[in-house]
Each structure stands twice: as structure tokens, then as C-alpha cells.
């Protein structure tokens, strides 16, 4: 999937000024709230924190508390499962089979 990072390596799900696109499968299956709670430093790059601490890529870590992200991700998975179940039911009905 494509994510976007700013100059501070914070992740986003949409493009905007100051962001660049990165292809990664690290966030497959994750909701936007989850993705935008993380910092992703690609391989070969280094994020230098304001206090001088260096983080070499590839490094993935949250840049904010994950409480909201966990809740959003749980809701996202529940919604996806409902979609899958509805699609399966539609297929079963079309094929006139039951499970």
C-alpha cells in the first residue's frame, strides 16, 4: 500500500505539501487512525529527534498515544468482518446454498 510521510517521518494516508509517497506493506489491514499514529523511517534513512537521538530505518513506532488508534482499529476490523459476512451471504443466496 502507499502511505505518505512528512519530513518528521510521521505517516499519513493522503498526499499533501511536504509529504512523499512510500510503498510498504507494514500497514496492510490497518485503519487510517492507526496509520496516522505512527512514524515510519524507511531503510537507509535516519530520523534525528530534536534532542539529537538518531533512529535508523527501518524503524516503525507510534508518535502519539495509541488509545484512540486501538479503538479505531477494532471498529475497522469489525466493520470489515461485517462486510465480508454480507458479501458471503449474498454469494450463498445467489448460489442457493447455506452454511
Amino acid at each position: 500500500m502507499t502511505i505518505y510521510v512528512d519530513s518528521d517521518y510521521k505517516c499519513y494516508v493522503s498526499m499533501a505539501d511536504g509529504r512523499r509517497a512510500i510503498e510498504t506493506n507494514e500497514f496492510d489491514g490497518k485503519c487510517p487512525e492507526w496509520i496516522e499514529s505512527f512514524r515510519f523511517v524507511p531503510a537507509g534513512e535516519t530520523w534525528v529527534e530534536s534532542n539529537g537521538v538518531m533512529f535508523h530505518g527501518e524503524m516503525i513506532a507510534p508518535w502519539k498515544d495509541l488509545s484512540d488508534a486501538y479503538a479505531a482499529q477494532a471498529a475497522y476490523v469489525t466493520a470489515q468482518n461485517k462486510q465480508y459476512e454480507a458479501a458471503l451471504t449474498a454469494i450463498e443466496n445467489a448460489l442457493e446454498v447455506t452454511t
Binding site: V53, A61, W63, D65, L66
Partner: protein
């Protein structure tokens, strides 16, 4: 907030301190001690005189101090205090930890130079995970510093749940590069609170660790 010693001379310099919230912080020079009035994680101390001032944070059994040299009037110095917690280094594995029982047994041995190493093996099969138990409370730490190498690129990670090959509980990670000599890596854990397991993702190679330290 600015804290000034009652009855002291005019401000001479300022020391700004960032520290783990919930800690008691003092700034001492000889018999003079300034104390932060809250435990918010940030404090500004107005220093009344030149000299070496020791800034110290204490929280339970943890403590960390740094000496700050004040030499010029108007000097402003910023200090970050972080507690250090050694999980593994040349002295061996912290006695609080052991193999997590994930099927790929974490072991302490020595390298060809006789230096102690902590090996997170591949375990020989899917779902055989290498990690330490118990989970570690990351609340008061900013970084997890790792020194080591791997026989194939492999993530070292902190996990919210018991590590599994599907990486469901993997919350933060760094890729330990394939090699034969150690390199240094750092994971930002500053926004993680509570208990997390430390271990490698499922992989086909072994990971050799020389140092595993929280700061």
C-alpha cells in the same frame, strides 16, 4: 514553571529539565537545593550562581542525574533525564527475564571473543517465536537501544501481546540487518505505556544481541 530559592540572589542562569513524568526532580549545588514543585515532566530552574549543578530525577527505585556546568551569567542549558534499565549487556541477562517459551528458545552464550550474547533463534518452524518474559513496563522510557546483528534481515520488536508469527501484537520495531558484526539500533518507545514483550519477528535467521537497554 520557574522555581527560585527563597532569599537567594538575583537569577544567574537557567537550567531547563525534561524528565519522566511522576518523578521528583532536584537541582543541587553544595548545600543549595532547588526542588521542582510538580512532577509534570518539565521544569525550569533559575540558578542563582555559577558552579556545577547536579540535576537529579527520582521515581521509586529509579534515579538518574546529570552534572551541569554553569559558567556564564545568562547561560541557558537544557537537560534531558531518562532512566536506564539494562535487560542484557556484557554482564548477562537481567535476572528478571528468561526465555518466553515461544518455541524458539532465547539463550545466553558467548561469541568467539568470549563476550556474552543473547540469541533469538528462528526456531525451525512457523509459529515458533523467540521472545523474553515477562513483559517489560515501558512507561518511563524513551528509547530501546539494541546492539547486534542477524543472519538475515529481521525485525526486533516490542509487542503488546505475546509475539506471534502473524505480528498481531507488534507495536514498534526496527530491522536488525544481516551481518556478522554488531551495529546499533534504536526504537522510539516514548509513546508506549504499560507492559510489552521484547522479541524478534518470525524469520528464518537468528538474531544475535549484545545489548538491550531501555533509556
Amino acid at each position: 514553571m520557574i522555581y527560585v530559592l527563597s532569599g537567594e540572589a538575583a537569577p544567574y542562569a537557567v537550567i531547563g529539565v525534561t524528565y519522566p513524568s511522576g518523578s521528583t526532580v532536584t537541582c543541587t549545588n553544595g548545600s543549595k537545593t532547588l526542588k521542582a514543585k510538580d512532577t509534570s515532566g518539565k521544569a525550569l530552574f533559575v540558578i542563582p550562581s555559577a558552579g556545577t549543578w547536579t540535576v537529579k530525577a527520582v521515581k521509586g527505585s529509579k534515579s538518574k542525574s546529570k552534572a551541569v556546568s554553569i559558567t556564564a551569567e545568562g547561560q541557558v542549558v537544557t537537560v534531558t533525564l531518562a532512566y536506564e534499565y539494562v535487560i542484557f549487556n556484557s554482564g548477562g541477562l537481567n535476572s528478571a527475564y528468561s526465555d518466553g517459551g515461544g518455541g524458539a528458545t532465547v539463550t545466553v552464550t558467548t561469541d568467539s571473543s568470549g563476550i556474552k550474547i543473547l540469541t533469538f533463534p528462528h526456531g525451525g518452524g512457523y509459529d515458533r517465536m523467540a521472545y523474553l518474559k515477562p513483559a517489560v513496563d515501558l512507561t518511563d522510557y524513551k528509547t530501546l537501544k539494541i546492539s547486534g546483528f542477524a543472519t538475515a534481515d529481521r525485525k526486533f520488536a516490542v509487542w503488546k501481546t505475546v509475539p506471534d508469527s502473524g505480528n498481531a501484537g507488534m507495536t514498534a520495531s526496527v530491522v536488525i540487518r544481516r551481518g556478522t558484526s554488531k551495529s546499533s539500533y534504536t526504537i522510539d518507545v516514548s509513546n508506549l505505556t504499560g507492559n510489552y514483550y521484547l522479541g524478534t519477528q518470525y524469520g528464518t535467521g537468528d538474531t544475535t544481541i549484545y545489548e538491550l537497554v531501555l533509556e
